[in-house]
Symmetry: D3
Subunit: 284 residues, 6 copies
């Protein structure tokens, strides 16, 4: 499921405008308008591609440039691989270069890191999912990058699923003076039937009263491996179980082995390492 | 020089809309509209703050919330420090929380990394500057974060300074058949007098003919330490000298010691590690 | 859950601009700038209110006008009731009048009709829900009006829940050559865990293979009352049951009596009768 | 006079974004990207078409889809008629379907109702015109629909013609202490010469002093049939006469027979009944 | 009739962003943030003021600045007069200065020139009106400036009045093979009753057949003084008469003396001389 | 260096919408949709062309119209010359005509006046540059027009170069109590290395302390010819010298003869005389 082309187009236009609000001073000064160049998008390290359409869109918006990708989104490539061939006027290619790279490097970085988490958990029941810790303005793209890396998406926004946390529960029970299960059940009855209901718990002893209210997913936040295992047993299939909280690559396999269904990883988008991709340009 | 409040406001509004296109389903379901909360923005690791106005703007846009920062942009803080106190309706604070954190964590991450590069080069002549490898849409903010960390900014965009690279030079001399110095000089004469002129060279032997054309800065791209030292000597004060190319923290001091004026560091914004800051919320 | 004030503000501004792209010719010609008026929003028929914030926003955007509602959204009123008192400059009130009325009359009309459907089904298990047959640009508001009338919302958009129809199923099974249950189950495995899954069936004999794939809601489209009753029995609690298809007020109770959980009613927003509300103005 | 294609395009894009802010989850999950479908836009009741360009635009914006209308705007069709043939990728057609229908059903509904009013008044001197009681954001389209139904448009907005009502007149004469004719005449002298001047009166005895001020149209608001007839006689061709006020289909012919020139009908757009049109889809 | 404050605000914001896309480098570098200044807007030549709200809006958008105008829009001032007093932070005043002046100088220039044309025609029947030859994006403001100078506005746009020219007439009569009066009359019958109808003629002998079709205004384009006089006589009050075509200040009185009702002057906005107004700043 | 096509497109669309918010009433009424016309853009006076792309864009946005320019931007033409040939539907050509002319006439007017200033200073060292006294919203285009006339651009905005004026200097030295050279030098050290530094002085005795701080350009504001000559001598090549202040065509040669490098001329854009260009239309 690729991001909407119109939304992608708007983002690329915004970025090109940010990067050249009144044109590319250098190229318009030094390059003849009709000079053609060929260029190759080359991988300087291994990774997973994400962003072919965005790269292509950026290139096509500054002038007559054609881009052909040899490798496609979600596919793995090795250092040295030629990912795409670009051809067009030098002015257009140079003006788009930085913006096109900024997108594809960041997104491929996210896809590549996601794939590491997915590989670590292979053979387990757990899926790797993203969080709302995305870069402001780029959530649509970053979630797509997570999918390209083999991960899954969590809710898109505050508007499309319920995720109740400790403060919500405290407020609902007026700090414990009311019955949590009853309060939750009556609140959930006011929801659209399409709303997914997830509740976060901090302790094992909260699980049963939450489950009793009818939830789709229960999130075990910052649980130890041992607590996760107990939690999964206690839920016993009555809801999906999500593990959350400072998930790191070196610990994710152990978490997955506890039997949880979902592991949400803020790192996928909260720490972005742009992949090292470069554009090698040759004049004709 | 803080980023323009109107531009900041527009970015925050965009991010809030992205994160809750049709409201915060959970909080509107579970929290009474008049429930007040207090919250503290707490550092879970050491760092440099960047983003107080953006955090405050996000909080103020979802409802009646006041934010007071105890520490200000560009100031250093230690793990455990309370950075800001927030007070307002629970619904407003919860709706703004993730967006406010997403901004301030990323920007403080950039400021903190920048400060490490700046500290590494202290006592040398070299200033640490950013590049155009910024996150699409957030350049204004990320450049500000670099300044908060003690770094300096390079040109904002393709539109406000000349930066000629090897392909430009090759095109200008028709691959060497014309005299570079003459071609550059005649091109530069067509520039606005306010345009800063920078030219990138890959080899020491290019320096003299570029300098002869009248440049403000010469960039030595991917030079070894030894070549940098030679380059500085060869330029001999006739232009500023910028060192560029995969600058890493463990190598930057040696680069700075060569006498270059400017070291541009893509890493500052190309690899973003969100600082670990959290919002601790207490109902009243 | 009120619609987002920023989104409401943008809609009202758009409508005011549409209605007076370069000012209110008549009022600026004939009314002194400082003339104050009082006005009352009066019901000329019974109904349910929806749109107090929108009405107030419209009034406040054309000049210094204060609006106080005596009756609030989702509350019932009788013909003749004074719904709100308005006071401000005549120019501002007159310029906003039509736009403010256009919104509140349409939305109250939707709330009022919804309440009729809800009343018809009282005592049954069925909830009345809206559809995507909303007025382009006003979905946020019209869904709110449905809630004010006691109805519930279906999915907001194509992006936030799965709703598979006959053409989807045909494509998935390559027109019957593949096993529907298997194909659905394998497709659903690729969904975010927060995605609600609904499948529409046209015949009773489709129910079991769809349910077997794991769906949250099954929609019985254009079923007779008798078929609905059989469908509910056949589903037997394994999924929510939604009845759909040209639901009319005079038939909805019978449909609800079949035991379905959800009745989706296109009419709520597809046929909009603006409620008869008027603004009675008195100069001081 | 068709609505401006750019304005139509913007409305359709807005509606598509509202209906699928981050894509069509179901179709992208279940349909192969290259699956082609044929579809027919079919009338399920008699009516007048309005919205062919808008329908076509919506279809073309979600992917490669061609639409050919067999019947054109302002033409009459019978139940069962095929209005248009659509062909394109299933994903594109399904994503656009609801938005395309939402527009064409509403607009055709308006055109069809307008045509009923026009038919009722055939053979009389009166033209049926719309009002400013349009759906916020859709005035351009709804006015076009009125024209498709054989009606005429009133002023577009507050900015393009004068329409003075009782409160304006009261303010102008300081509640009767100044001479109405003089005050009006002196105000009208300040208008652009292109401004149409219309004044609303509530009683027959106001007609002469208003006419004396030089008006283009006089509106008789909420007059009885008998009063209308007297009003027309009294105006005696010195201005156009518009009848207004809760005009219903069963009363419009009698109103028209009084000799008025214009009957403005809020119902045309204030009460929108979407026409029953459906998209019948066949996979290939 | 002042231009819509929201529209003015949007224009000023646009202009401020154009003039300082990422802040005022100089003032943020050199001025302390809390430095207050007083400033006076001073006339360096005689003129008519236009733009007080726009000037004030610009000043208020860059920081805490108050502006009080001593003279108001449409009022005359002499060289040396203090038009307004400004007080606020130096950074805000300096950042807004150029934009605020650019608006008020241009608009006051237009008002002043308009007043000269109006003065030249005083005592005659003719009103001075503007044309569509306005600066792209600023029509709303420039038309207001014309009104401040005592002129009147022509139609705002192509959408709000009919203005038929020779090519329209030729097309309508199929280059003379059809009867102009009949064709016009039948076309005009399809217009909204609020549409003002103006037809341009190039020769005296066209007048009668145009008038016979029922027009509100007849435009005599590029007529000599003598022809204008004959034209007025020939029209004989059956329509308003507008004179048009390269109207210059030294010829306008003679044109007015022919008895025409309207003289449209492209020069008012087609040739803009910014009035010499300056901002004298004093630090405290 | 042509202005960015996307930015041009946005400006043209804005202008077309301003000029026909809901279509061209006259042409849609009177012209058959398929009527083709040919037209010629003809010069009615001598000048320099600027705006071919903008004119072409406007023509292409209202319908199928092709435009071929016989003369290109920055080229000189004589009265009577055919500048462009246009061909397309009459409706499209007529709707675009005024907007297309409004742009090309203004811009060609600016180019033509600039060329006069450039011609006056031919053979001297001085370049003619523009200022920030541009029309709000059109700076990008007007600066391009200055270049078409042979002039050069000054800084684009407040954001891209330092320009310190007397008030800045007074604030920096706390009205003279601190050393100007030291304060400036320390401030300039905080600037990006790409920022051009210009300081304005009012008296000869300020030159040395400003130059000592390290500036790129020194502006001599409102100096007499004699003072300019002395200023140039005093600067002695240590910075570029800009002359500024009410530069008029009849005085510019004398100013240029003083040896200044730059003469900034507010008149180029502050006083806009639209060139007399017309569109001669022939029906086929």
């Amino acid at each position: 499921m690729k991001p909407d082309p119109q939304a992608v187009g708007a983002l690329v236009r915004m970025a090109l405008l940010e990067d050249a609000p009144w044109g590319d001073l250098t190229s318009q000064l030094l390059l003849p308008p009709d000079l053609q160049v060929s260029a190759q998008l080359v991988a300087r390290e291994d990774g997973i591609l994400c962003g072919e359409d965005i790269f292509t869109a950026a290139m096509s918006m500054t002038g007559p440039v054609t881009t052909e990708f040899a490798i496609h989104d979600a596919e793995r490539f090795a250092k040295g691989a030629v990912l795409a061939n670009v051809r067009g006027t030098a002015r257009a290619v140079f003006q788009a270069e930085r913006v096109a790279l900024n997108f594809v490097q960041r997104l491929s970085g996210i896809a590549t890191v996601t794939a590491q988490f997915v590989a670590e958990t292979s053979g387990t029941n757990a899926r790797i999912v993203d969080t709302r810790k995305t870069t402001p303005g780029l959530r649509l793209l970053e979630r797509y990058a997570v999918r390209c890396g083999g991960g899954f998406n969590h809710r898109f926004s505050l508007s499309d699923a319920v995720m109740a946390k400790d403060n919500h529960l405290a407020a609902l029970t007026k700090n414990g003076t009311k019955n949590l299960t009853d309060e939750l059940r009556s609140a959930f009855a006011r929801l659209p039937h399409t709303a997914h209901i997830e509740v976060e718990v901090d302790r094992l002893d909260q699980i049963d009263e939450v489950i009793a209210a009818g939830v789709d997913t229960i999130m075990l936040d910052n649980f130890t491996i041992d607590e996760l295992r107990k939690g999964v047993r206690q839920v016993a299939g009555r809801a999906l179980v999500e593990a959350s909280g400072r998930v790191r690559l070196d610990r994710v396999r152990e978490m997955a082995s506890t039997g949880v269904d979902i592991i949400s990883v803020g790192e996928l988008t909260h720490r972005v390492r742009s992949l090292d991709l470069g554009l090698d340009i040759e004049s004709d």
